[in-house]
Structures are given as structure tokens and as C-alpha cells.
């Protein structure tokens, strides 16, 4: 829990020596509480106070970073239960699980597919974050071989899963310089797992279906000097998992319970489980299988849930050229909400048909939202036409409106008397057909 200025003051030397640049310790304490200065500016704080102040300044959910050569997956550091209260910050890390029993060629093939997977959503290239390797052979040599095989084609961060320390160690020994995650520690094996995590500087995940047990284990493990922990609530079903995830998040954020202030990990064997994990608090999501249509939908869900509710994702207003438009090609007008822009741009681009795409400044809103809010009207459309000098580039002045705002066509005609105004289809998917039928372009 963040301390108040007065509480901080009590932990300072109270000598008012001014070396921090402030007239009194109290003034410095107030600035510290407001996070406008660093504690290190005071040379005289005792070690004990320092520890206490740092502890209180730590985020309620620890930031955990999985690392490999060239990649990082950060999770944790969340501060709210509901995204509208502020925002969710660090997107759930999405991992796909492979097995040590898989033959080498299959492992390499799967890894390559996962590693190469990249899908574009509203201008962003989205990817899988890493790979989890599960030991189902209880053979250290197989784990070592699996990790080596995966590393021959992918550098993405790894999660190693086994109940045996020697199996995990065989994998970890191949990952020097990285920060992988190992699981799963539990009430019987935790000591050996903590030792292993310490030796290899790995992040340690603890599995349980009881909140009390998590608290007990994180405290014991922390006392061994291991601080980078992840919790795996493995409830009996979807509903049980929702409750455990919520209880952990609540305890960390509302009660500032340090023992539960760690990100969580969810093993998911269905799309529904994975969707719940993303919306309800999982730091890492480990999928049982790789299927493009599943990964795509989950990456989009994750992107949606983790956008800042205060700022719609936008593109720059202006004139965009698609497929090298010429002076007699049509101008399609749309808004600068990213989803809107890319729905239209991708459609036109994919069809191979040339167009000028005129993006009006509608304050980042979709066509109908902006229209209803008065941010996408004849006036704004006319302004967009004028400010981009698109007129000078054209011999034919044909402007296509989105079908859903057909009602605007009269007013736009009045604002732009030299233009022919046509109403396009309601949905971007139908633009190519519209080109062929109404504009007679092939």
C-alpha cells in the first residue's frame, strides 16, 4: 500500500539537513509520496527505512519478465480489477505447449510454425510470445533434446514443465543467459524447485487450487531468496478458475497482500478457457494446441481487452493511396478509428483495385459512432477534402461515402459542388463488388 507523506516522514532521519535539495525532511517526504523525487536523493536514510519504503512503493502485482536472446515477455504490474477504472497494462503472454515425447522432426516443425506465426490486426503485427515444453517422458535427456531442437529454430522465451528437478535442470542447462519460467512447484517439492530456480535465475511457478496454500508457499519460497514467482490456480473447472483468479487479483490489489502479489498462469485446453483467462486476469496463457484460427482470435481478444479505454486506437487523418490510384480513380472517405480505417484499407488493398482513401478526423471514432456524435458530417468531410489537396491530384472528382451514412449525401453535395457524391455499401467487405457493379471497374 502506498504510504502517505506523513508516514514516509516518520521513516526519514528528520534532521532537515537540506542535502536532498528540500528545506525539510517533511517537504522531501511529500514529494516522495507524490512520486516526484527518488529516495536516493537522501543520503542518510537507514537501511531498515529504505527496505520499508521500497516495499511500500512496489506495485501490488510484481512485474515478471521472461527473457531469451532478443525477446522479453513482461506481465504483472496491474493496478485495477476492471479495465474502465484505468487500464490493463501488460498483455497476457500467449504460449503454446509442446511435449518432450514428440519426435525431433515434429518438434522442429511445430516450433517453426509457432515461431513464424504473425497476423496483422488493425495495422499491428501480432505474434505468439513463446513456447512451453512439457515433460511427459520423465527423461532428462529428452528434455535436453527437446530444448535444443526448439532452440535450433526459435529464440522465443520458454516455459519448462515437469515434476522432476533433474528433467528441468537438463532443460535449463541449455538456456544460459535466459530467464525462462519453470513449473510447477507445489507443497511437496517446493524446496528443491526453489533451489533450482535460484541456481538458474529462472522464474518459478507455483501450482495449487487453494488460496491459503499459495500464501504459505510464496512466503516460504521468498524466504529462500526467490522473488520472481508466478501463481498457477488450477481449479476444478472454468468457474473455479474464475473465482481463484479473481480472489488472487483482489487480495493483491485491494488488500495489498504481498503473498499473492504475483502474476498468474493459466493452462488452457479450450478456446473458452483461454478467452476467460485473457479477460479475467491471467498473466500467462498456455495453450494445449496450435491452430491459426484459435491464436488469431485470442490475439485479437487480448489486444481489445488491453487497449486503454481512454484512448481509442487511431490512425493519422489524411489521404492514403491504395494500389497506385490515378487521377480518375475514386476517393473513398472514412474515419480515423483504426478498426474502421483498416477494415476499409485491407479490403481495397486485397482486391487490387486502386483508390484514394480519404481519412477524415473523426476523433478516433467509427463511422456511425462519429456520425451520431457529430464528428463525421458534411462539414468535416469537406474539410478533409480541402486540407489534403486531393482535388489537385484528380481529373475526375468522385467521392464515395460509407453506406451507413447515406443520409449525409445531400449535405456533402452542397459542401462540395464540384464533386460527384456516391453512396457505397454499408460493409467494407462489399466494396470490391461495388467497384464491379456500380463503378464498373474490374
Amino acid at each position: 500500500m502506498a504510504l502517505s507523506g506523513i508516514q514516509i516522514y516518520k521513516l526519514l532521519p528528520q534532521t532537515n539537513c537540506k542535502e536532498c535539495g528540500f528545506p525539510t525532511c517533511l517537504a522531501f517526504a511529500m514529494k516522495l509520496a507524490a512520486k516526484q523525487v527518488e529516495l536516493s536523493s537522501c543520503p542518510y536514510v537507514s537501511e531498515a527505512s529504505k527496505a520499508q519504503l521500497e516495499e511500500s512503493a512496489a506495485p501490488p502485482i510484481r512485474l515478471i519478465t521472461l527473457k531469451s536472446n532478443g525477446y522479453e515477455v513482461k506481465v504483472g504490474n496491474e493496478v485495477v480489477l476492471y479495465r474502465h477504472e484505468k487500464t490493463f497494462y501488460n498483455k497476457s503472454g500467449l504460449f503454446v505447449k509442446l511435449h518432450t515425447s514428440q519426435i525431433e522432426n515434429a518438434l522442429i516443425e511445430e516450433t517453426r510454425r509457432i515461431n513464424q506465426y504473425q497476423v496483422n490486426y488493425v495495422g499491428m503485427d501480432l505474434e505468439v510470445d513463446g513456447i512451453a515444453v512439457e515433460d511427459d517422458t520423465h527423461d532428462p535427456a529428452k528434455m535436453k533434446a527437446a530444448v535444443t531442437a526448439i532452440r535450433s529454430v526459435s529464440k522465443k522465451p520458454l516455459i519448462l514443465i515437469s515434476s522432476a528437478v533433474d528433467v528441468l535442470e537438463a532443460g535449463l542447462s541449455q538456456l544460459s543467459g535466459e530467464t525462462p519460467l519453470v513449473c510447477c512447484a507445489n507443497s511437496t517439492n517446493w524446496e528443491k524447485f526453489a533451489e533450482l530456480a535460484g541456481k538458474y535465475k529462472a522464474i518459478l511457478a507455483i501450482e495449487s487450487d487453494k488460496i491459503d496454500e499459495f500464501v504459505e508457499l510464496t512466503e516460504k519460497i521468498k524466504s529462500k531468496g526467490i522473488e520472481d514467482l508466478v501463481l498457477i490456480p488450477n481449479g476444478k473447472n472454468l468457474g473455479h478458475n474464475l473465482i481463484l483468479q479473481t480472489q488472487i487479483r483482489r487480495a493483491a490489489i485491494k488488500a495489498n497482500l504481498r503473498a499473492l502479489g504475483y502474476p498468474t498462469l493459466a493452462f488452457c485446453s479450450s478456446p473458452v478457457e483461454a478467452a476467460q483467462a485473457i479477460t479475467k486476469y491471467a498473466g500467462f496463457v498456455v495453450l494445449d494446441e496450435f491452430a491459426a484460427e484459435l491464436i488469431y482470435s485470442l490475439l485479437v481478444l487480448r489486444q481489445n481487452i488491453y487497449t486503454d479505454p481512454q484512448k481509442p486506437i487511431q490512425v493519422q487523418p489524411g489521404l492514403y493511396e491504395i494500389n497506385n490510384p490515378k487521377e480518375n480513380d475514386p476517393v473513398l472517405v472514412t474515419t480515423n478509428f483504426s478498426i474502421t480505417y483498416f477494415s476499409v484499407a485491407n479490403e481495397v488493398e486485397g482486391s487490387g483495385l486502386p483508390a484514394w482513401l480519404l481519412v477524415a478526423d473523426a476523433e478516433g471514432m467509427s463511422v456511425l459512432t462519429a456520425w451520431a456524435a457529430g464528428k463525421f458530417d458534411a462539414d468535416r468531410i469537406a474539410k478533409a477534402v480541402k486540407s489534403t489537396n486531393v482535388t489537385d491530384k484528380l481529373s475526375k472528382h468522385l467521392l464515395i461515402l460509407p453506406g451507413s451514412v447515406a443520409v449525409l449525401s445531400g449535405e456533402v453535395e452542397a459542401e462540395l459542388p464540384d464533386w460527384e457524391i456516391r453512396v457505397g455499401p454499408r460493409e467494407a467487405v462489399d466494396i470490391p463488388k461495388f467497384y464491379k457493379l456500380a463503378l464498373q471497374v474490374n
Binding site: 474502465h84 476444478k236 482470435s297 481487452i305
Partner: protein, 324 residues
């Protein structure tokens, strides 16, 4: 060491609303559906009651729709041109209740007549004993012209009539009041607009336990995050005691998810989008699950496989009560 998990103690609760009437209560339904009554955020059984499970409605139309994905046509095959057969198939696919949506134009491209609409509704009521929701074509004049005669012809059935919007609710509410029906009130993803419409409707004299509210949603990838957060905020407001938000929520993930490219189009899309059918079903299911977790009480879906998956999820979310 036992740990104290912070629990929210809410002063308010969601109202219960019952859809459909049994013969003893003046209707002809073989069962009714009751939703609402929650005293906690979704499925947190350890801190409050969830007396009624969320339900899944399947959306059917009065005739073969023109613009539905070919995948849906494949799923429902030949029943799509007959609302009665479609209703039976939907019941077999696991629907808890039905949504019948009326087309603006009939098979011949002429405006759907009140007689046609009434007979579609009657044929559905005769074919299936499930409770029914009827949505007009979504244009104020046509909605009024069709919903009033339907309401009169089915007096006492406790059908949900929709969609009431700010500009077009009076006629629908009046006929629902006169004929013992319910209404569905839709607003554009905004807590205050939702409250305002509920106030306007209840000011006309319709009791609050005959209103469902539809906060509107967008599909996964097309605005779902707004729907998700508005529903969480509406439900929090209800639990905090704000009377005009204490209504069960109905949402239409099926409609939203099936109108977008990911589910409509199978060819000429990026390979990274994966298998078309699975993608489309994922799209509908994920949209629905996300809304279920933010407070939906009635989910309106289209594909039988999505219905199966969402119902299984509801089973698990409800049965967790025994686990904590």
C-alpha cells in the same frame, strides 16, 4: 494460515424477470425462463447469490435471410425457410428460448405485412414450447406496424418485444403493457443512456420486472472492449443500488460476430486467419464468453456449435458454487 480475501458487500441486486407464460398463467408455453437476481459480479459465488443461470437464445428469422454467412446456411440447412421448423431445430440444438427476427421485406421483396408477421409468430409458438422474444426489422415504422398486431394476437404469452430505442419505444411499450408482454430496451453502449431509457419506459407504467436491457455490443475485434466495460459498469451500478440499472442484460453476440469479415468470408483472406468454420465459431463463442463474464443474462447466438460451447461454459461457471 487462513487468508482473508476481500469481499465486496453490495447493497443492491439485479431484478428477476420471467419470460413466457405457462397455460395456468394465461400463456401456452411449456416452460418459462427466469433471469436476473444476482447479488454479485458474474459467477463470484463466494460473495453473493446467482439464483438464475444465464440463458442462451437462438436467433431465427421469419424467412430465409439474405445476408447470413454461408456457414450458418450450412448449419441450419433446409429449415431456414420455415420459421416453425427452424424453431424446432433450434430447440433441439439446446436453445433455452428463441429470438424470432422479422424481415423488412418478404420473400417477394415487398414489405412484410402484419398478417405475415403474425402468422410467423403463431407458427413458431405452435411448433415450440420455448419462451419467445420477437424483434422487429429495426426500422421504427415497420417495427410498430408489425409488433402491435403480434402483441395483440399473442396476449398473455409474456413475449419479449423489441427493440425499444430512445426514438421508438412508446408504441412498443404501450402494446406490451396492454397485452401482458415484456420489452427489450436497447441503447448505444452508455451507462447513462441505458438508465435514461429504462426511466422513460418505466415512467409509462411498465413494471421494471418486465424490461430487459440491451447495452449493445461490438464483435470481437470490432468494439467488444466497449461492450465489455459498459456491461461491467452497468452491473456494478446495479449492485451499488442504482435502481434503473438493476435489469437483466440481453446481448446479441451472434448478430455482431456473424456480420464481420472473419466469419462471413472464407476465401481470399490471410492464411494466418486459419480454418474458416472454426474461426467463425471461435469468433461467436469468444464474443459471447467475454460478454457472459461481464454480466450478460441472455445471450443471443446463431450457430449450434457456439450454443453448445457457451452452454457448457455456463454449466461450469454455475457449478463452481459447489467448489468454494
Amino acid at each position: 494460515m487462513p487468508v482473508e480475501i476481500p469481499k465486496d458487500k453490495w447493497p443492491g441486486s439485479v431484478r428477476t424477470v420471467t419470460i413466457g407464460a405457462l397455460p395456468k398463467d394465461g400463456g401456452t408455453r411449456k416452460c418459462t425462463v427466469t433471469v436476473g437476481g444476482e447479488t454479485t459480479m458474474p459467477f463470484l459465488h463466494y460473495e453473493g447469490e446467482i439464483p438464475n443461470r444465464p440463458v442462451v437464445a437462438i436467433e431465427i428469422m421469419d424467412r430465409q435471410p439474405d445476408d447470413w454467412s454461408p456457414l450458418l446456411a450450412e448449419a441450419w440447412k433446409d429449415v431456414m425457410d420455415d420459421p416453425a421448423k427452424w424453431a424446432v431445430a433450434a430447440e433441439q440444438a439446446g436453445a433455452d428460448l428463441l429470438v424470432l427476427e422479422l424481415s423488412l421485406n418478404n420473400r417477394n421483396g415487398e414489405p412484410t405485412t402484419p398478417d405475415e408477421a403474425v402468422s410467423a409468430v403463431k407458427s413458431v409458438l405452435a411448433a415450440s414450447g420455448l419462451p419467445l422474444i420477437v424483434f422487429g426489422p429495426g426500422q421504427a415504422e415497420a417495427d410498430n406496424a408489425l409488433l402491435v398486431p403480434i402483441s395483440e394476437a399473442t396476449k398473455g404469452e409474456r413475449i419479449v418485444l423489441g427493440i425499444c430505442e430512445d426514438k421508438n419505444y412508446r408504441t412498443i411499450v404501450a402494446t406490451a403493457m396492454a397485452n401482458d408482454h415484456l420489452v427489450s430496451a436497447r441503447t448505444a453502449m452508455d451507462v447513462n443512456l441505458a438508465k435514461q431509457l429504462n426511466i422513460l419506459i418505466s415512467d409509462m407504467g411498465l413494471p421494471l420486472d418486465r424490461i430487459l436491457m440491451d447495452p449493445t455490443t461490438g464483435a470481437l475485434g470490432y468494439g467488444i472492449e466497449y461492450g465489455f466495460s459498459v456491461m461491467e459498469r452497468l452491473r456494478l451500478a446495479a449492485l451499488q443500488g442504482d435502481k434503473m440499472t438493476q435489469l437483466p442484460m440481453i446481448v446479441t453476440p451472434g448478430y455482431e460476430a456473424w456480420k464481420i469479415k472473419e466469419s462471413k468470408v472464407g476465401e481470399g483472406v490471410p492464411e494466418t486467419w486459419g480454418d474458416w468454420l472454426n474461426r467463425a465459431i471461435n469468433w461467436e463463442t469468444l464474443t459471447a464468453i467475454t460478454l457472459l463474464e461481464s454480466g450478460a443474462d441472455v445471450l443471443v447466438l446463431r450457430h449450434p456449435e457456439s450454443v453448445k460451447r457457451v452452454k457448457r461454459a455456463i454449466d461450469e461457471l454455475m457449478s463452481a458454487k459447489e467448489l468454494v
